[in-house]
């Protein structure tokens, strides 16, 4: 006849990219005659923002305003190969391929501008607003549009670039398991507060405090989208979801959203996020991918919090009211631990 509060903690790291490597991504970048750029990819945007983050990376590397860059994906007739959007590989692999392609296109653009301005390409900078000018002498300038037109119609240059990023495939030792899984890891720590009702067995997450280390937040709002949505999914994974409620029996498996439970907007917990950035030496501008690790620490944090609240260890996900009540019955009632 009481609710008990508990706190639980978990800390994790997460490998960025396909395990063992060997997962290439390619990119093609080219300018139309007006100096507007298309980035051709085959990466899939599932909602994680693949089109958006690669657009920012291209614009940064090319030195042009983001409005002048468009990412086109995925059409197998026009986009070069990409392994796919999974394993938190998109930002890291595709980002690097886009940088390489953009660098090549940029150097041609600067050569074209240099020829028009009759200077050395090495003396030119882009202002990120659509202009190319001599370092320290902004009046000696040409628009990217004019440089592109000159390249196309006068000089016979293609302002275009190609990129590929591939981490060589690692071996695995059958006897020791020695391997190179990935080149960088993201990190996270999470503390959740829960309330457990010892009459109904229901567990509610009432607060989340987290710290996520993501290399570099290439777009802070896209990172926030992943961290918020992912933590929600972690909470859902811990307390709500299962395709086999009586695993390993397959009986009573849900067939619709009435019986496949997920928290709704009325079940949310406030989530206070801190983002840390330790650039990956081989990440695009140091970026790592936050898309998967955001959910992981929530599962054990919730289980640890339930133990803290009532002294019942539930080592079997999901944490259901039935398991809570059985645990309470077996030990003769709630025995709060309050370790945190």
């Amino acid at each position: 006849m009481a609710t008990h509060r508990g706190r639980g903690f978990a800390a994790i790291n997460y490998p960025i990219g396909m395990n063992l490597g060997g997962d290439p991504s390619q990119a093609l970048v080219h300018s139309n005659p007006d100096g507007k750029f298309t980035v051709a990819l085959s990466a899939i945007d599932l909602g994680q923002g693949m089109k958006s983050v690669t657009r920012q990376i291209a614009a940064e590397t090319l030195g042009v305003p983001i409005e002048d860059v468009y990412v086109d994906t995925a059409d197998s007739d026009t986009g070069p190969h990409d392994m796919g959007s999974f394993a938190s590989r998109g930002t890291h692999r595709m980002g690097n391929a886009v940088i390489q392609a953009s660098n090549e296109a940029r150097s041609v653009m600067l050569e074209a501008a240099a020829e028009e301005l009759e200077v050395d390409a090495a003396d030119l900078v882009t202002d990120g607003k659509g202009n190319i000018h001599v370092k320290g002498a902004p009046s000696r300038s040409i628009t990217t549009m004019a440089a592109a037109q000159a390249a196309q119609f006068k000089q016979g240059r293609t302002i275009a670039g190609r990129g590929i990023f591939l981490i060589p495939l690692s071996e695995v030792d059958p006897d020791t398991g020695e391997m190179t899984p990935v080149s960088c890891f993201a990190h996270a720590a999470m503390l959740v507060d829960v309330e457990v009702d010892d009459e109904t067995g229901e567990v509610a997450v009432i607060d989340m405090q987290s710290a996520y280390e993501v290399g570099r937040a290439l777009n802070p709002k896209l990172v926030e989208q992943q961290l918020r949505g992912g933590a929600w999914m972690g909470m859902s994974h811990a307390i709500w979801e299962t395709t086999e409620p009586y695993y390993p029996s397959r009986e009573h498996g849900p067939e619709d959203f009435n019986s496949y439970l997920m928290p709704g907007p009325g079940d949310l917990a406030p989530h206070h996020i801190s983002v840390l950035e330790r650039p990956a030496p081989d990440g695009p501008y140091g970026g790592k991918g936050p898309g998967e690790m955001c959910a992981n620490p929530v599962l054990p944090a919730v289980v640890n919090a339930v133990y803290d609240a009532i002294g019942v260890r539930i080592d079997d996900l999901p944490v259901t009211p039935e398991k809570v009540l059985r645990g309470l019955k077996a030990q003769g009632g709630a025995k709060p631990r309050r370790m945190l």
């Binding site: 796919g84 591939l166 570099r216 979801e241």
Partner: protein, 560 residues
């Protein structure tokens, strides 16, 4: 509710960039809010046909006969497909990635190994007509015994889920029925430990549950090619698989995707495209094959269940000196990507901690349930749940605050990891400290002074002089030259040695809590200066591979 702690690692970053770091509006969000973003199903086709599959109601059964004659006569039915209509009736994902033996039919014609497995496909003018015709397909089943528990499935005498591997276990490197991790000598550490902490952890399967279900629409395009709009997460995986299954040059296939209504791993290998394209080839009309929500829930591959046994040797000061894992991935009825997941999981052990002795045996086990596939955190989520729940048991055993325990054992730059690579670019300590501070939890002076850049390396950088290895789980009859390829002529050639490794037993009650950890002074070092990354690292060309249809070999299992 969100803050950016720029002060951490500030000297490793140049934050003065133009577009990077800006909260720029998404390129696609105007399309999302106006309803114009084109998902695979948002394309009009004249004369669109609908494909639905006939599925097994049994966990395990032999197929005696599939009678489609009634279904073929039903209103609106254009064509009914069975296994013989599929040019290569095999999901070729594993051979495409050089990751194992292809083991799963597209349309099963000999036996089914999970409830929901497809045995025929009806193509009709409307979805309702396809559903009605599916019910009219008659299958004579010979129901077989089935097994659903991973530890039951590997016992001698258990029903055989897959004919290729003995005892329902995937064979790694042609050598063992599990993947090993061996670093140091855990048994020696257990013998001299102050505390032993054991645990058993179980995670049930869960659904990716994107709001958009999996599907594809294929249609004849001009010039003897086929266009396929698909929800896939991996355009070229899907294109390559379709080309192999249909024995069609990849140049004839035009795949369009890139805007997907959520994936979370469930759309990496959903394999809708081959049947949709085959339907378009055989009917000359556009064909849509998409799952309804019930199929998405119970037929669509979930995150596989995992069972982990963990045993730790712990000093009274809270340092974990050894960690032993026995892990069972429930791969379901076919391999799909589970063989890869185990390797990824093994590469992740023992978690972000520096532990001088680590042992793992991880099994990819076949059971008579829906085959598992990738899901957000594939290969990692389950074992992290086990590890982090276990860490709290260790904390309670030694009487340490759970956050202190993490920081104490955390890996740091320069440490040697259990898979024999140096730890770099670490940040676990700082994440723990930030959360403790926000949550109002007071840490010890050492924990507050710890950093990822200090205290690592030195002794901690060494590979142990002695690592205990073994031949447990050795199998014969599989080629070591290539990943899990069989030697000899038939599946009966392989025999397995009985495994002598015992799974860890149920957790023992923890010993009495020990005293607080002795403080250790750490030499302060200036963090190393690193230039901010301006250029991407040089990419190295992939080693050349034979086989026109292959991607790079991802197995890594071949000895070179």
């Amino acid at each position: 509710m969100i803050e950016f702690r720029k002060e951490f690692f500030a000297d490793e970053r140049d934050d003065d960039l133009n577009e990077i770091g800006k909260p720029t509006r998404r390129q696609d969000i105007l399309g999302h809010v106006t309803g114009r973003s084109p998902f695979f199903d948002d394309h009009q086709f004249d004369g669109l046909l609908h494909l639905r599959c006939v599925r097994s109601p049994h966990h395990h059964a032999r197929i005696r006969r599939v009678d489609t004659s009634q279904a073929e006569k039903m209103p609106g039915v254009v064509r009914v497909l069975t296994g013989k209509d599929v040019p290569t009736n095999l999901n070729t994902l594993l051979s495409l990635l050089d990751f194992g033996i292809d083991d799963e039919p597209i349309l099963s014609d000999k036996k089914v190994a999970y409830r929901g497995e497809p045995v025929a496909a009806v193509i009709a003018a409307t979805e309702a007509q396809a559903r009605a015709a599916v019910k009219a397909v008659r299958v004579d089943w010979e129901v077989l015994p089935h097994v659903l528990d991973v530890e039951e499935a590997i016992k001698p005498g258990a029903p055989k889920v897959l004919d290729i591997y003995p005892n329902n276990k995937f064979i790694y490197h042609g050598k063992y029925d599990h993947q090993k991790l061996r670093f140091g000598d855990v048994e020696a550490a257990f013998a001299s430990a102050d505390h032993i902490v054991e645990g058993r952890y179980q995670m049930s399967p869960i659904e990716q549950a994107p709001i958009e279900t999996c599907g594809a629409i294929a249609a004849p395009e001009q010039n003897d090619r086929y266009v396929c709009y698909t929800s896939t997460q991996a355009l070229f995986f899907s294109l390559g698989t379709a080309a192999k299954v249909l024995q069609t040059p990849s140049s004839k296939l035009h795949f369009v995707g890139g805007t997907v209504g959520g994936g979370f791993g469930g759309k990496v290998d959903s394999i809708h495209e081959p049947l949709a394209i085959l339907g378009a080839m055989l009917t000359g009309r556009p064909v849509k094959y998409a799952w309804d929500r019930e199929e998405e829930m119970q037929v669509g591959a979930p995150r596989g269940a995992e069972r982990w046994y963990i045993k730790d040797a712990v000093n009274r000061d809270g340092r974990i000196t050894a960690r032993k894992f026995i892990g069972y991935f429930d791969s379901g009825a076919y391999t799909r990507l589970s063989s890869y997941a185990i390797i990824k999981g093994v590469g992740h052990l023992p978690g972000p901690y520096t532990i001088p002795n680590v042992y793992a045996d991880v099994y990819c086990v076949y059971t008579n349930r829906t085959p598992a596939t990738a899901m957000r955190g594939f290969g990692i989520t389950g074992v992290d749940f086990a590890i982090e729940t276990h860490m709290d048991k260790v904390a309670e055993t030694v009487g340490l605050n759970p956050i202190e325990l993490r920081i104490l054992n955390s890996y740091r730059d320069g440490d040697m990891k259990a898979h024999r690579r140096e730890a770099k670019n670490c940040a676990l300590v700082e994440c723990c400290q930030v959360v403790a501070e926000k949550a109002g939890i007071t840490l010890s002076a050492e924990a507050r002074a710890a950093t990822s850049l200090t205290g690592g390396g030195g002794e901690r950088a060494r590979i142990p002089n002695y690592t205990a290895t073994d031949q447990n789980g050795r199998v014969e009859g599989f080629d070591t030259g290539s990943y899990a390829r069989k030697s000899g002529s038939g599946p009966a050639a392989a025999t397995a040695q009985p495994s002598t490794a015992q799974p860890a037993r149920a957790p023992q009650p923890g010993s009495q809590p020990a005293s607080r950890p002795a403080s250790a002074s750490r030499p302060e070092q200036a963090p190393p200066r690193a230039d901010p990354p301006a250029k991407p690292p040089e990419s190295r060309p992939a080693a050349s591979r034979s086989g026109a249809m292959r991607f790079s070999s991802l197995s890594g299992f071949r000895r070179r």
